[in-house]
């Protein structure tokens, strides 16, 4: 019912836009950067928390850097550069990082930013009951933070871990005023009480409606605000976001699904940008703990049975970027040599299945072995289904049935049921994408033996060794080589994974808005610093 409604709504909007396009005249672009003005930005996701330490939604990242800053930030080459720091240096054995801090910076409540403030944030992150996921994953190799002097902090690690630099550049690593960490009434919910050093100050939050930022007058950093104020409206329905933009009620929106992109690109008053996320590609992971995917030939056959470009076109109308590896093509660690090495060969799929003993068919055309149907189950947790992934699953279901007689059962269930299915091993296919800025962090969680979201059941000392090697060195070329080996092992040698597409974010805006873009490396929409509104 709702799908029909959405389709009708899209039709109504198309008609509306068609009329607009005829009547509208092209306005000039945003021109040179100017100061001042108030911008309204329609976003899809209302954050569960505004506390950067507890950040967990990639869709909320564009809000974090408005009010908060981290010690380091990503450059566009997969490296790091100082932000609240002036420089950083790794010890020769990789077990310590010395970070020097900028001087003269204050939090928006007047508290000075110094080494003690940095240490207070680390202590807070490790205090019981505050941020268990940060403490257990990102800070697992941190021994302690030492205040050498007021502008120098030394982070001592228990073992070499380059992902610690990724933490220092992440929202969880943002430095919050230690005074507000102590005094905030709803510390874990964040909001106006929690002060940062960013170019804007979060001064008003109306749950369910909007969050408002005002320019931080005392900001002296490298990414100053041009706008006087920016309001983010929470508009969950994509057709409502697009309508609000085309009717000029908001000037910028993020999150434009494939079905609505033509409306934006055909409108001369609007601009459209797409950025690929880094981290891991959206992929199907095969559970090798039991039949049928314990047999590599069945895994290879499943991959050959899917013609990925056809499936993606059917669902995303040519707007999706195909993935060849578990690592996103936007990541510096991506192994390009995997492209065009597998998949989409139905004849090969059928001969592999014949060889694996699934040679007979039942009345419905599905393959069988010893009277048992070749059935594999994909369980999706409804609260986390996005990007029409349930439709994609149905399309893959039809493809593998038609080309190879594989019975893919897709169920979209509540989170409790999904968690139970995963815990009991009642699944053969697991789908996931992760928006970690360093793909290595995603692979650690997905591929390491017994890792938190290792759903393939593949445990291999060699692979664990490579993963450890990948985070032990900060040399970019050596890391690339190590992660290339990892990708070849899981994609080519073991056929553990069927990568599908690279998750992307979209920004659509009025031509009068300048300075919009995506965050380097992360690939998600950047914050409002540097954005201007033509007069």
């Amino acid at each position: 019912m709702r799908r029909i409604a959405t389709a009708l709504a899209a039709l109504a909007l198309t008609l509306a836009a068609a009329c607009d396009a005829g009547a509208g005249q092209t306005t000039a672009d945003a021109g040179q950067p100017v100061d001042g003005g108030a911008l309204t930005w329609g976003i899809e996701t209302e954050p569960i928390t505004f506390n950067p330490h507890l950040y967990a939604q990639a869709k909320a990242r564009l809000l974090v850097w408005n009010a908060y800053e981290a010690l380091l930030t990503h450059d566009d080459q997969g490296g790091y550069r100082p932000w609240l720091a002036t420089g950083f240096e790794a010890a020769a054995d990789g077990k310590a990082y010395t970070v020097t801090l900028r001087t003269g910076v204050t939090f928006s409540d007047g508290t000075p930013f110094d080494a003690a403030a940095v240490k207070a944030n680390i202590d807070q992150l490790r205090s019981p009951g505050y941020a268990p996921q940060v403490a257990a994953v990102q800070l697992r190799n941190l021994k302690d933070a030492e205040v050498k002097d007021s502008t120098t902090v030394i982070f001592h690690l228990t073992r070499p871990d380059v992902l610690f630099l990724d933490f220092l550049s992440s929202p969880q690593g943002a430095v919050v005023s230690p005074k507000s960490l102590k005094e905030a009434k709803d510390l874990k919910a964040g909001g106006p009480e929690l002060k940062g050093t960013g170019p804007f100050v979060l001064d008003r939050y109306v749950p369910g409606q909007e969050v408002h930022f005002a320019r931080n007058p005392s900001y002296r950093g490298e990414r100053p605000a041009r706008l006087d104020e920016v309001t983010y409206r929470f508009l969950k329905e994509s057709s409502v976001r697009v309508g609000a933009l085309t009717s000029g009620q908001v000037q910028v929106i993020e999150g434009v699904p494939a079905t609505d992109q033509a409306l934006i690109t055909s409108n001369p008053e609007l601009t459209f940008r797409k950025g690929l996320n880094s981290g891991s590609a959206y992929s199907y992971y095969f559970n090798i703990a039991h039949a049928p995917f314990d047999d590599i030939r069945v895994r290879q056959a499943f991959r050959e049975a899917v013609d990925v470009p056809t499936v993606l076109d059917a669902v995303y109308r040519g707007t999706a970027t195909r993935a060849w590896s578990v690592v996103s093509p936007a990541s510096p660690l991506y192994d390009k040599s995997l492209e065009n090495t597998y998949s989409g060969d139905a004849a090969k799929a059928n001969s592999l299945l014949d060889a694996a003993g699934w040679a007979t068919r039942d009345a419905e055309g599905f393959r069988t072995r010893n009277g048992k149907r070749l059935t594999v189950r994909l369980v999706q947790s409804a609260p986390f289904v996005r990007d029409r992934r349930e439709i994609l699953a149905q399309t893959v279901q039809a493809a593998v049935k038609q080309s190879a007689g594989i019975d893919l059962r897709v169920s979209v269930v509540d989170q409790g049921t999904a968690t139970k299915a995963l815990a009991d091993g009642e699944y053969e296919v697991f789908d996931n994408s992760r928006a970690d800025t360093d793909a290595g962090a995603a692979l650690d969680l997905l591929l390491h033996s017994g890792a938190a979201i290792n759903r393939t059941g593949f445990n291999d000392a060699g692979l664990d060794g490579l993963l450890a090697e990948g985070v032990a060195t900060s040399d970019a070329a050596r890391r690339r080589a190590t992660y290339a080996k990892i990708q070849q092992k899981v994609i080519t040698e073991q056929a553990l994974i069927l990568p599908l597409y690279a998750p992307a974010d979209q920004i659509a805006a009025s031509r009068s808005v300048g300075g919009l873009g995506f965050e380097p490396t992360a690939g998600v929409p950047a914050g409002a610093a540097g954005v201007w509104l033509a007069k």
């Binding site: 569960i48 409206r233 329905e237 609000a244 085309t246 009620q249 947790s381 989170q415």
Partner: protein, 303 residues
């Protein structure tokens, strides 16, 4: 006096039963609160242990339940697992916008229903109106909302798309919610009017020389109102259920979106608070409906 005390006591029992039923339903649903808090992020025994310790989830369910009831009795609704704020803040901040929406929609729906039922008495007019009502009742509110938005906000620019910002922003969401309500109420009222006009008292009134409209408004309408008032509880259900969808379409703050988020993520303290609140409103509404019968129907006052 006894009647009032009985009424209050039965109200308290209803509230307790509603809270307990909701508690049991959430307990029976698959998955645990820890699963909810972990979400689709990293999941290790260490993380789980910390979450369990933080929220006291290792206590037996019955102890958690009793301690919950005890705190509620003292006016402490607890903290939201998901939003990390006191439940009274979460629900309190959203109560106003939803109340404004519900009252506006109910008022609009009732006025529309009265006007339609009384004015569309001619056969052709009732056929048109009746078909329109059926269409409105069977159309999902989501679609009504999007169509109204496309026309009156995106095309004509008369009303803003979102938020709880004054009367202009209230018009479209209230109308979206009011149309199906008006559809059902009109059908019920018209049916009641038809039956009342067939009664002997209508003939008597006409024989006294009363005009047709006076018979309709002064005599038939009173009879027709009784079944409509009985729908007050239903009306509240429609408004709260509709609010979930309307609020997300129109980007409005409100209880609907809070409830949806809380139920899908098993945020027990928020769900229980919403259930208790809804039960309270039900009890109050039904009491008001009972009193309204007395006002409308003099025969009931004697007993």
């Amino acid at each position: 006096m006894n009647a009032v005390i009985r009424r209050i006591l039965s109200g308290v029992v209803v509230l307790w039963a509603a809270a307990t039923a909701a508690y049991l339903a959430l307990l029976a649903a698959p998955g645990t609160t820890v699963d909810t808090i972990v979400g689709d992020g990293a999941d290790t025994p260490e993380i789980r242990a910390r979450i369990v310790a933080e929220w006291g989830l290792d206590r037996p369910e019955i102890v958690q339940y009793v301690s919950y009831l005890g705190r509620v009795a003292h006016g402490d609704l607890g903290r939201s697992y998901l939003l990390q704020r006191p439940v009274s803040d979460v629900v309190g901040a959203q109560l106003g916008p939803t109340l404004r929406l519900a009252v506006a929609a109910a008022g609009l729906g009732i006025v529309l229903a009265l006007v339609l039922a009384l004015t569309t008495r001619r056969p052709w007019a009732r056929r048109v109106s009746s078909s329109a009502e059926l269409v409105l009742v069977s159309t999902p509110p989501f679609l009504i909302g999007i169509v109204l938005l496309s026309v009156f906000s995106f095309r004509l620019g008369w009303f803003p798309v979102s938020g709880d910002k004054g009367i202009a922003a209230l018009v479209l969401p209230a109308l979206t919610l009011a149309l199906p309500v008006a559809g059902v109420l009109t059908q019920v009222l018209r049916d009641g009017l038809d039956r009342a006009l067939d009664e002997p008292f209508a003939v008597t009134a006409r024989s006294r020389g009363l005009g047709e409209s006076a018979v309709l408004v002064r005599h038939a309408l009173r009879h027709a109102l009784l079944p409509a008032i009985a729908l007050a509880g239903w009306l509240f259900g429609v408004l709260l259920g509709g609010a979930v969808i309307i609020e997300s379409v129109f980007g409005r703050p409100g209880l609907g979106s809070v409830t949806l988020l809380a139920v899908t993520s098993k945020d027990m303290p928020v769900v229980l608070a919403v259930v208790v609140l809804s039960a309270t409103v039900y009890v109050v509404l039904n009491t008001v409906a009972d009193l309204a019968y007395l006002v409308v129907d003099p025969r009931l006052r004697r007993s």
